[in-house]
Symmetry: C2
Subunit: 219 residues, 2 copies
């Protein structure tokens, strides 16, 4: 009996190994999910601590405040998508193929990372006050816009794209046709009386989006 109690005690006060980086990472992961689910205002710090299997005190130790934690989560999310975009190596592809691949990537990234969309929505509700402070994001974004600009230029030079398409407008449009569909999937499914998240619906939308962008830029 005494042995059983001892074992129970040991597993109760876990032989927790100290690891600052791992704890930080667990907090960030839990925070991303909680912020994405409930927004900055609706997220609960206690819930984040619990889900991270960490103590709430640690959140304030590592991240100072709820808002700073949100800012870190948001920055990480942007860095992640921009990094993934760079990895596509679109410069190595023919203009049309490159653009189609970007549309597909964007769609699939939003699908696989639904938190990204909700985080961005929440940030816009707060008038981008957290993103404003981040210089890293601005640099990464500039690189991205230039990449699309290069694709457009190459296509125009080859005569496959019409000239004069604004890369910013195009970027916004590529994001928009995927983002809107997914962020509004709940109200959309009611308004249009169709399950927008059914597999066929998702495949169909991707095709439609690629088609939309091609018709927009092709000569």
């Amino acid at each position: 009996m005494s042995i059983t109690n001892e074992e129970a005690e040991k597993s109760a006060r876990k032989p927790r190994i100290r690891d600052a980086e791992a704890t930080k990472a667990r907090i960030l992961d839990a925070a991303k999910k909680e912020f994405a689910k409930n927004g900055l205002g609706g997220a609960r710090v206690d819930v984040i601590a619990e889900k991270a299997n960490a103590n709430k005190r640690m959140i304030y130790h590592y991240f100072e405040s709820k808002e700073r934690l949100f800012q870190t989560v948001l920055e990480d999310a942007y860095i992640d998508i921009r990094t993934a975009e760079q990895k596509l190596k679109l410069d190595d592809l023919e203009p049309k193929a490159a653009l189609a691949k970007l549309v597909q990537f964007t769609w699939e990234y939003y699908l696989k990372n639904p938190e990204f969309i909700t985080l961005v929505n929440s940030e816009n509700l707060h008038r981008a006050k957290h993103l404003k402070k981040s210089e890293v994001i601005k640099a990464a974004s500039r690189k991205f816009v230039n990449m699309v600009g290069d694709i457009l230029d190459r296509g125009a030079a080859q005569g496959v794209f019409r000239p004069g398409v604004d890369p910013v407008q195009l970027n916004i449009t590529i994001a928009a046709i995927g983002y809107y569909y997914l962020t509004n999937r709940f109200t959309g499914s009611i308004i249009f009386e169709r399950d927008l998240m059914a597999k066929e619906a998702i495949d169909e939308r991707l095709q439609f989006n690629v088609d939309t962008i091609m018709r927009l830029v092709c000569a």
Copy 2:
């Protein structure tokens, strides 16, 4: 002095005329603004009461709960846009003109009613649980989708539009290219290092959107 005091007293406890409808309307208006600004979770009932120049008790008297109030605000918002769309009388216009007018209307409606976008975002954060309960909205939406379907059919019959365009996908796209630009105007202005809300930028985007939709459907 006594007269002055009397006057002060009178204006202090205002000779409020009782008017249930007016009070309800003031609450709804204040609620729309507060929900749009802070989302369902971030909105404060006390703030709504204060802005409405009403007592908090009245909110619960007329609307039962914060959530029911939100639902009412949301329903009203949807009814308003659907009503405005019907008033466009697009059936009286040539297919191309009708579609261009719809794109322009959608853009301008979002611009003039920024609360609409934020309310819909908030509702999607809550997985459309409030909209699900509303039958009125479903009927109005069906009418709207059919309207766009008719325009497409007329255009295809006349040979100005290519056949087989899905009215639901088209509707989603028309909404998307305006909605995304505006809901993400804060992060967008940072990412793209451009004031997306400058007059010229707004005009330019409308032209781009009309162009995008025309290229998408024209034969």
